[in-house]
Amino acid sequence: MSQVLLAAEGLQRRLGGRRVLDGISLNLERGQGYVLSGDNGSGKSTLLRVLAGLEAADAGVLRFQGEQTQLPRYPDSWRPRAVYVHQHPYLFHTSVAGNIAYGLKARGEPRERWLHKVEEAMDWAGVREVAAVPPQKLSGGEKQRVAMARAKVLTPELLLLDEPTANLDAEGRRRVMDLLARLYAEGVSVLIACHDRELIELPGVQRLHLENGKLS
């Protein structure tokens, strides 16, 4: 059996009088891929955001690599290890490289160290051709790939991707899927929210379905 990376127990979240997360427990294993399906409004984004510490849960316990927290408290040190990528990623008003370097700079890495990592990440995501384009002018697929590079460059243990292929054309989707497969092959755990069950095909991926606040 693989090692549990992130365990959640009894996650509760009420929004607008509805139990969006109704006592959810799950174990995410190291190097494993997960596809989280569910209808629009079923709470996929909410679950991902709670796991990433961006949204408070009303109750629940998280364990990340043996360290435990009682929600809504969420340790700052976990965040860059479990990075969340928005469905429509926000790219900062700097260059593509500046975006990718953001987390490395926040971490206090010296320039000579992050410069090389940023170059590598740009190649990895295939965004070097658009490196000179202002990020706001990129296509949806290019933005998604820059956001994935920006997260991946931090070597997180878990990536939480919110509908990464939604609203992309066939070519954009193919390129994002290709990156997902490579992340996965490199041993990064990925949890991908997506409302179409068939969309995400990765070898050995586990499927989770969210309905009425429960996982199945």
Binding site: A52, G53, H86, H88, P89, Y90, F92, H93, G103, A151
Partner: protein, 231 residues
């Protein structure tokens, strides 16, 4: 008397670079810039705090700042006068009728403008900015600075606006500065008081400079709005 002669004289003063005129313009700009530079960091920091954090009294503070916006500057001048006057609580510093007193007045006038503009700029920022920054490991402080960067046009507009307000206001500068030549006489007080003594040429020349500054500020604001609209 006709307007033609003083106007001609005003142009003459401007093009000749009349030392007294330049001194007044220089003092005006310098006092305004100093006041904005001193008050902008704390005012912007408070604006971010008021926009991002929920705490008791937060709404009240924002409403208070908005109310201060429409406070007559002459009343602000009066309050500072009373505080700084010989018998006032801060009288021992002997600041009344000094450039420092004007700078203090300008800081008080600029403060609510900077706070209110910053609050609205930060509240208008995309919520994904803060979330993205935090998820990538930024501290709250760094994430707040990232928001300021993303709304930098709004913040610049706040600063330009505050500068425009103080550089042209009369009431407070007369009250606490006293229009002392070479020390506290700035553009608006010189126009208001020297004109009443019959020196029209200087008033017209300074008026044209103030108009040019106001025009420049409007152009900058229009450009900033254009830039902000790009997002």
């Amino acid at each position: 008397m006709g307007l033609l002669e003083p106007t001609r004289e005003a142009f003459a003063l401007l093009f000749r670079g009349d030392p007294e005129l330049l001194q007044i313009i220089w003092l005006s700009l310098w006092l305004s810039i100093a006041a904005i530079a001193l008050i902008a960091p704390p005012a912007i920091a408070l604006g971010v705090l008021l926009a991002k954090r929920r705490f008791p009294g937060q709404r009240t503070l924002v409403v208070l700042a908005q109310a201060l916006l429409s406070f007559p500057t002459v009343v602000i001048g009066l309050v500072i006068y009373l505080l700084l006057s010989r018998r006032g609580p801060l009288g021992s510093f002997e600041l009344l009728f000094s450039p420092t007193a004007i700078v203090i007045g300008y800081m008080v006038i600029a403060f609510p403008i900077l706070v209110v503009f910053t609050v609205s700029a930060v509240q208008g920022a995309d919520p994904r900015v803060f979330e993205t920054a935090r998820s990538l490991g930024a501290s709250r402080m760094r994430a707040a600075l990232t928001i300021l960067w993303e709304v930098r046009f709004g913040i610049t507009a706040a600063i330009v606006n505050a500068f425009g307000r103080v550089v042209s206001e009369v009431g407070c500068a007369i009250m606490v500065g006293g229009n002392i030549a070479g020390l506290t006489r700035n553009m608006p007080t010189a126009i208001a008081l020297e004109t009443s003594k019959g020196d029209f040429a200087q008033g017209i020349a300074l008026g044209m400079v103030l108009m040019a500054i106001a025009l420049g500020i409007n152009v900058v604001m229009a450009l900033l709005q254009g830039e902000g609209g790009l997002k």
